[in-house]
């Protein structure tokens, strides 16, 4: 039975049409978390976030508190918010920046105070034109209100916040590529080590990079305490989380539910959540955490939505986006389209990714559109093994960033689950679903 009665944290204003305005935000408890934070020592604010065990909501799931504490030894120069949401089927940050921009701004100021940073940036995906306007408006209002800028609420703490538009590049969601873009360059991921922007970030200075949803949780955490957040969920997966559900479901959308308390079956089939597969069709497979994640099948439906649980089963909760495929879905076409995406978005620095993505995309194209060969299935697996040797999860890396090793996920998932579908395409000469 799905647990849907947990009060929402980041989508608490979801029923309010004017949730993005300062007036409504103030009426509904806005900026109270910041006011409280400013009465505490910065370290005490960071300690609350640590106590909350808030896992980063961008995709990698790194504990936000630990990310901060790695830095506490040396002063941090910049705070950068990653709002370059581009992982296919992920649309939670889109919701947050349009519907609750003040909550994001408040979270950023709280984080800046905890880290004692005086310059922060929100990097937003360029395609979020309305989101950019809403966040800029919120920033303007926050300055006017005294919640941002010099001597915030008379506390003596000052921080400047700049809203920075991206320009259309999936790779800029990778934090070092994002920093390159913020420095005005091509979005090329940086060679590691150093692994963390905490060491060498923007302009080579220590920088914290956090996701939009992560930041949006902070006002609640400070107001209610880290322990209250950690009391929700279970294991390492604390609090609530926004799940973006799409594909072959009756009620696609963003659902904020308590971590671990619900299963994939609850999310996809419960009438108050996904509402099931349309017209009584049968679920064939689903992607549990963005298209970089290996697919799951019906046997995984009763797994709980928890980061470690999904990780142990050989995939990832990633960006919290779940895509449902049913018996009307051509899995070869799905794998081809996802691969085409990676091929288009490869930045081109590393050979396995740049050359490999285009190569496997062309093979999948001919299987789907005509001209596929029986040996193509093995060639695909061989190429994937070259891109990420061993085809394990988490994937082995041959490239600067994880985009390359993400390419095999959909291909190997589709082949291992639906190998006969590939052979049917070869026999038919193209897609038999057409």
């Amino acid at each position: 039975m799905a647990v849907v009665d947990t009060p929402p944290i980041v989508t608490a204003r979801r029923d309010l049409a004017d949730s993005y305005t300062l007036a409504r935000y103030l009426e509904t408890g806005g900026y109270q978390g910041l006011r409280k934070a400013l009465t505490l020592h910065p370290e005490a604010v960071a300690a609350e976030v640590d106590a909350a065990s808030l896992l980063g909501r961008g995709g990698a799931g790194f504990p936000a508190g630990r990310k901060w504490s790695m830095l506490r030894k040396s002063p941090i120069s910049y705070l950068v918010v990653n709002g370059d949401e581009s992982e296919p089927a992920t649309f939670k940050d889109h919701y947050l920046v349009e519907r609750d921009p003040h909550q994001l701004v408040e979270g950023v100021v709280i984080a800046a105070y905890a880290l004692q940073v005086t310059q922060a940036f929100i990097f937003l995906r360029g395609e979020f034109a309305l989101g950019l306007e809403r966040v800029q408006q919120a920033v303007n209002e926050a300055y006017e209100h005294g919640a941002l800028g010099r001597n915030i609420f008379g506390s003596g703490f000052s921080v400047d916040l700049v809203v920075h538009p991206g320009a259309g590049a999936y790779i800029c969601g990778e934090e070092t590529a994002l920093l390159e873009a913020l420095e005005g360059k091509r979005g090329f991921p940086r060679i590691k080590p150093p692994y963390f922007p905490a060491v060498t970030g923007l302009y080579g200075e220590p920088t914290v990079v956090n996701n939009v949803e992560t930041m949006s949780n902070l006002p609640w955490i400070v107001l209610n305490g880290g322990a209250a957040f950690a009391a929700l969920g279970g294991g390492r997966s604390t609090g609530t989380r926004m799940f973006a559900l799409s594909g072959r479901v009756n009620r696609p959308g963003v659902y904020e539910i308590e971590m671990v308390k619900n299963t994939f079956r609850d999310l996809i089939f419960d009438d108050r959540l996904g509402g099931g597969v349309p017209d009584g069709h049968e679920l064939r497979a689903f992607i549990p955490g963005g298209v970089s994640a290996p697919w799951f099948g019906p046997e995984h439906l009763d797994m709980v939505l928890g980061q470690d649980e999904v990780g142990a089963a050989g995939s990832m909760l990633g960006s919290g986006s779940i895509v449902v495929m049913d018996d009307t879905t051509c899995v070869v076409r799905a794998a081809w389209r996802i691969t085409k995406f990676f091929s288009r978005e490869s930045c081109g620095q590393c050979t396995p990714c740049r050359e490999g993505s285009g190569w496997v995309e062309r093979i999948l194209y001919r299987l789907e559109h005509g001209g596929g060969r029986t040996e193509d299935v093995d060639v695909l697996l061989d190429l994937c093994d070259n891109i990420s040797p061993g085809l394990n999860w988490p994937p082995q890396q041959t490239t600067i960033c994880v985009l390359g090793p993400s390419i095999p996920s959909s291909i190997t998932s589709a082949i291992s689950r639906f190998r006969d579908d590939f052979y049917a395409h070869v026999q038919h000469g193209s897609c038999p679903h057409e």
Binding site: S86, H94, A129, D160, H164, E183, F341
Partner: protein, 208 residues
């Protein structure tokens, strides 16, 4: 005499002043150049180079990396139809094909009247209203052929001018607050913050 109109030039200089280093204003300035000209012209990129302290070649090389920047003229309305996974499962390819016929131009091309450019986009992060369609990066919720046709009619008649500005205009809200101070002053504040923290940490170490 600058290529940028005086109002655009003023906004450009404001943008440059927001960043610790001038080059960081590159993407916002390129958006601004596109707002004035509809696409990135040589003159526009040269001015961005001057403002960011880079060369025109560096500006072009950076701009070419990003999908939203157009180095050739595009239509007044750039129509993007998503066919990535969630939209694929919702008929995005069929909608793109319908758009191709309605607009009378191939994907990646501009209609003869110069009004529309059609693009097949990657995920637009609007997967619950699939297939996702944007016009000049505004979500338009046109998920069926009928809705798309109505949208195109409205665009032709200028009935969407209030919410869909011409291509290139991305952010209509101007920054109106902020610490418009030199980075030197911010750096000084940061140094003070560091000193304060060091003092706190020293006190904490002593206490323990």
């Amino acid at each position: 005499m600058t290529h940028f109109r005086s109002d655009i030039r003023q906004r450009a200089e404001e943008l440059v002043s927001l960043y610790p280093r001038r080059r960081s204003a590159m993407l916002p300035l390129l958006h601004l150049a596109q707002e004035q000209d509809g696409y990135l012209t040589d003159a526009g990129m040269a001015e961005v180079a001057e403002l960011t302290g880079t060369t025109p070649a560096e500006v072009r090389g950076t701009a070419a990396f990003y999908d939203m920047f157009h180095l050739e003229p595009v239509g007044r309305y750039v129509v993007g139809v998503c066919t990535n996974i969630a939209c694929l499962l919702a008929g995005g390819e069929d909608l793109l094909e319908h758009a191709r016929r309605t607009l009378g131009c191939e994907v990646g091309h501009t209609s003869a009247d110069g009004l529309f450019t059609l693009e097949e986009t990657e995920c637009l992060a609007d997967c619950n209203i699939a297939p996702a369609v944007q016009v000049n990066h505004r979500y338009v919720r046109a998920t069926t052929p009928e809705e798309l046709d109505r949208l195109v009619e409205d665009l032709r008649a200028g009935r969407r001018d209030h919410d869909i500005p011409p291509h290139g205009t991305l952010i209509r809200v101007r920054r109106s607050g902020g610490l418009r101070v030199g980075t030197a002053e911010l750096a000084e504040e940061r140094a003070q913050a560091r000193a304060a923290r060091a003092a706190r940490e020293a006190a904490a170490t002593e206490a323990s």
